[in-house]
């Protein structure tokens, strides 16, 4: 068995989970625009809504935003283990 890679895209994170941004795979345009919404490598975001299709709702730096699925798919993240759980 191959262990699945720990890094997934933000579009694959289910609601209620927290994830740390590892990288943004996109041009400078996408990188700077996401930065204006507080999403840069290192930011921990909480996914609030992800229906498996359509935009993703997330909270980043205390504000909530809707992000198109295409953009969410370009954000590489690592799910953060909840404190208290195993």
């Amino acid at each position: 068995m191959i262990t699945p890679p720990a890094a997934i895209s933000l579009a694959q994170v289910s609601p209620g989970k927290r994830a740390r941004v590892e990288a943004v795979q996109g041009g400078r345009g996408l990188v700077t625009r996401l930065a204006a919404f507080g999403i840069i490598p290192g930011t921990v975001v909480t996914v609030l809504g992800n229906a498996g299709a359509g935009p993703v709702i997330l909270e980043a730096r205390g504000s909530r935003l809707a992000l198109g699925r295409g953009q969410a798919a370009r954000i590489v993240v690592q799910v953060v283990a909840e404190e208290g759980s195993a």
Binding site: R33, G54, P55, R61
Partner: protein, 669 residues
């Protein structure tokens, strides 16, 4: 240029900056009141608002910069905002901050402080801090930032006097600002090297430190500036430095957020994990994957239904008043020249009056939209609609412009300004005229009322709305495939906290949209009413079919006959180009018969099939004159405007043919 502070001068130039939806316009309106001027930034379809206010002996000239999340060069708004700060050098820049999203809002604060140190921070929406579990200490923030910080609740006009005071103190130098420096850490050496290369070069007024920073961020405008301002050797040296720094934009952003973290840690207390708010609970339901769309449909069906219910009696009163005004005018002018009485009672009063009877519908509809916008629901509606809007090649944000179009297409097209890319704006502008505005629905409802039994009217109206929406999606899809290809703009939208709408904001939202409609009634429609009256009155002494209007009808008849329409309905469609509601007035003139209402006359003159053809054609066929004018000014292109006029004509004609001939073949006509 001399950067000394004006001590003797009594005029202070102030620029208001801030993210979208932070209450910037509210503050601007409170400060300047009626002393304001709204126009466009030169060469841009970005609104420019200027106004003045006074404090003691000082006159403050305020400019409301467009709402932006950052000062990169990704949109016209961002370029306008930063060029104003750099080139016009306002005495003070006020950055307005929504404290419920303080961390993200401070990203703009950091960027403004990179450009100027004469800054005042307005901490707006202080009443929402508690909702998020924040404790904010403005004095501590002020110390940490090194510039004045003023807590405000703009909706209740709290803190305005203090804000003005702080502006004057900074402008006059009574208060010296020394902003906390941002350390770009890993990029510091690169920036120093770039600054050295740029030193002594003319950079169109931009400070070299800032140009170095923007080069590192890969700013497109600055790249163009480099090409103009720097010689090949200097550029090569700069690019050599930049090549050693791959992740420029991320490093700069990281430094700004680290700076924000320091400032906020000093000036506020935040809960370790965000608190579950009222907003979370509502969002859980209204953005639900299955419930979201039915809720949205319910909200808008209710809004439409209530609009028509509530406005009907008001429209009726207005209608009756104009009829009485007509009679009164006729009596008053009985002794005067007949042409004047005729012009007023048969041209101007029914023409303009007919339009003004739509005022209540539009007013109430925009009030509903205003409530949905100001409460925060509209952003959720855009979220829910995003997938459907994708079918027409747009994203969720374009939804609001379509909705406004249901009131009137003129403000609807202006509402496309919130879209970021030129392509998205063009597409949203081009499909907007297919949205049936209140005026068109008025004409359609009259025909449906005349030709369909009461039980069928609501389903027929609902199908017509659905038909027009299907056409919007089809047109959007085709335009995207044929004329406006290219990558779709990313969808990123803030979801603000829910809140009770404020009366002031409602008045603003409704007021200026209503104004756009009234302007149209007072200019275009007045003119066309007179024109139609002229055409239907001359040559003097002839019967209607011999007048110019009648002759126009005979010219059009062959085209109309393809759709089963007679010359009178064809003329009504032509006059409807001036303003959709004029169609009814024209029909009333052309079908005028003693002792018969217009509905009766129409039932005698056409079959239900032909009526249906007319309804569908009139629903879609052409944007009205005022809409064409706004399409031209917003696209800045005759080519796109022509396309926007012609393709609905083809679409409506095609659908009309289809319905007429199918109906005929089925033996309905």
């Amino acid at each position: 240029m001399n950067s000394g502070r004006p001590t003797a001068a009594k005029t202070i130039r102030v620029a208001l900056a801030g993210n979208p939806n932070v209450g910037k316009s509210t503050i601007f309106n409170i400060l300047t009141g009626l002393h304001q001027h709204v126009g466009n930034w030169p060469g841009k379809t970005v609104e420019k608002k200027e106004g003045t206010c006074r404090l003691d002996d000082y006159t403050l000239e305020c400019v409301d910069l467009p709402g932006t999340y950052s000062l990169t060069a990704h949109s016209a708004e961002e370029v306008v905002a930063r060029d104003y700060i750099v080139q016009e050098r306002p005495d003070v820049v006020v950055v307005i901050v929504d404290v419920s999203s303080i961390e993200r809002n401070f990203y703009l604060v950091a960027q403004v402080l990179e450009l100027t140190d004469r800054v005042v921070i307005a901490l707006n929406m202080m009443d929402l801090a508690g909702v998020k579990g924040y404790r904010i200490f403005p004095e501590r923030l002020q110390v940490a930032l090194g510039v004045p910080v003023v807590p405000m609740v703009a909706r209740r006009a709290e803190g305005c006097r203090e804000l003005l005071q702080a502006i004057v103190e900074v402008a006059t130098g009574q208060r010296v600002t020394s902003p906390r420096p941002i350390h770009y850490r890993r990029a510091e050496s690169t920036l120093a090297a770039l600054r050295e290369v740029l030193a002594g070069r003319a950079l169109a007024g931009y400070p070299p430190e800032w140009v170095a920073l923007k080069m590192l961020e890969g700013d497109e405008e600055i790249e163009r500036l480099e090409e103009r301002a720097l010689d090949a050797e200097t550029r090569e040296r700069a690019h050599q430095i930049l090549r050693q720094h791959e992740r420029g934009p991320a490093v700069v952003a990281d430094a700004r957020y680290a700076w924000i973290e320091e400032v906020l840690n000093a000036g506020m207390e935040r809960p370790a994990r965000s608190v579950i708010t009222f907003t979370d609970r509502i969002d859980h339901v209204v953005t639900h994957r299955f419930l979201g769309l039915p809720i949205l449909l319910g909200v808008f069906v209710a809004a439409f239904w209530l609009t028509f219910k509530a406005s009907f009696p008001l429209s009726h009163v207005l209608d009756a008043s104009f009829a009485r005004l007509g009679e009164w005018t006729a009596n008053a002018l009985a002794a005067g020249p007949t042409w004047l009485a005729s012009l007023l009672t048969e041209g101007v009063i029914p023409g303009v009056g007919g339009v003004l009877t739509f005022l209540p519908i539009i007013l109430i509809f925009f009030l509903f939209l205003g409530v949905l916008e100001d409460s925060g629901y509209m952003a959720r509606a855009a979220f829910v609609m995003d997938r459907i809007m994708h079918a027409m090649g747009l994203h969720g944000k374009a939804f609001l412009s379509l909705l406004v179009g249901y009131g009137c297409n003129v403000p609807g097209i202006m509402a496309t300004r919130i879209l970021e890319t030129e392509r998205d704006r063009l597409l949203a502008i081009l499909v907007n005229p297919l949205i049936p505005c209140a005026a068109r629905i008025g004409v359609v409802a009259f025909f449906v009322g005349a030709f369909f039994p009461p039980g069928l009217r609501t389903p027929v109206m609902a199908s017509l709305y659905a038909l027009s929406l299907a056409m919007v999606i089809l047109a959007g899809f085709l335009l995207r495939q044929i004329a406006l290809r290219g990558e779709q703009a990313p969808f990123m939208m803030e979801l603000p906290l829910y809140r009770t709408p404020s009366l002031r904001n409602l008045a603003m939202f409704t007021g200026w949209r209503l104004l756009a409609f009234l302007k149209k009634a007072g200019t275009v429609i007045l003119g066309v009413s007179v024109l139609i009256w002229l055409l239907s009155s001359f040559p003097v002494g002839t019967d209607l079919p011999q007048t110019y209007l009648g002759r126009l009808g005979f010219w059009l008849e062959p085209a109309g006959r393809l759709l089963g329409l007679d010359w009178r309905t064809s003329v009504a469609l032509v006059t409807g180009f001036a303003a959709k509601e004029t169609s009814l007035a024209t029909l009333a003139v052309l079908y005028h018969a003693e002792g018969q209402s217009l509905a009766e006359a129409l039932r005698h003159a056409m079959t239900p099939l032909v009526a249906l053809v007319f309804i569908v054609v009139q629903l879609l066929y052409i944007p009205c004159l005022a809409t064409v004018a706004v399409m031209r000014s917003e696209t800045n292109s005759w080519k796109w405007t022509a396309l926007g006029v012609l393709y609905p004509l083809v679409l409506a004609g095609g659908l009309g043919l289809l319905i007429f001939h199918t109906g005929h073949a089925l033996g309905l006509g």
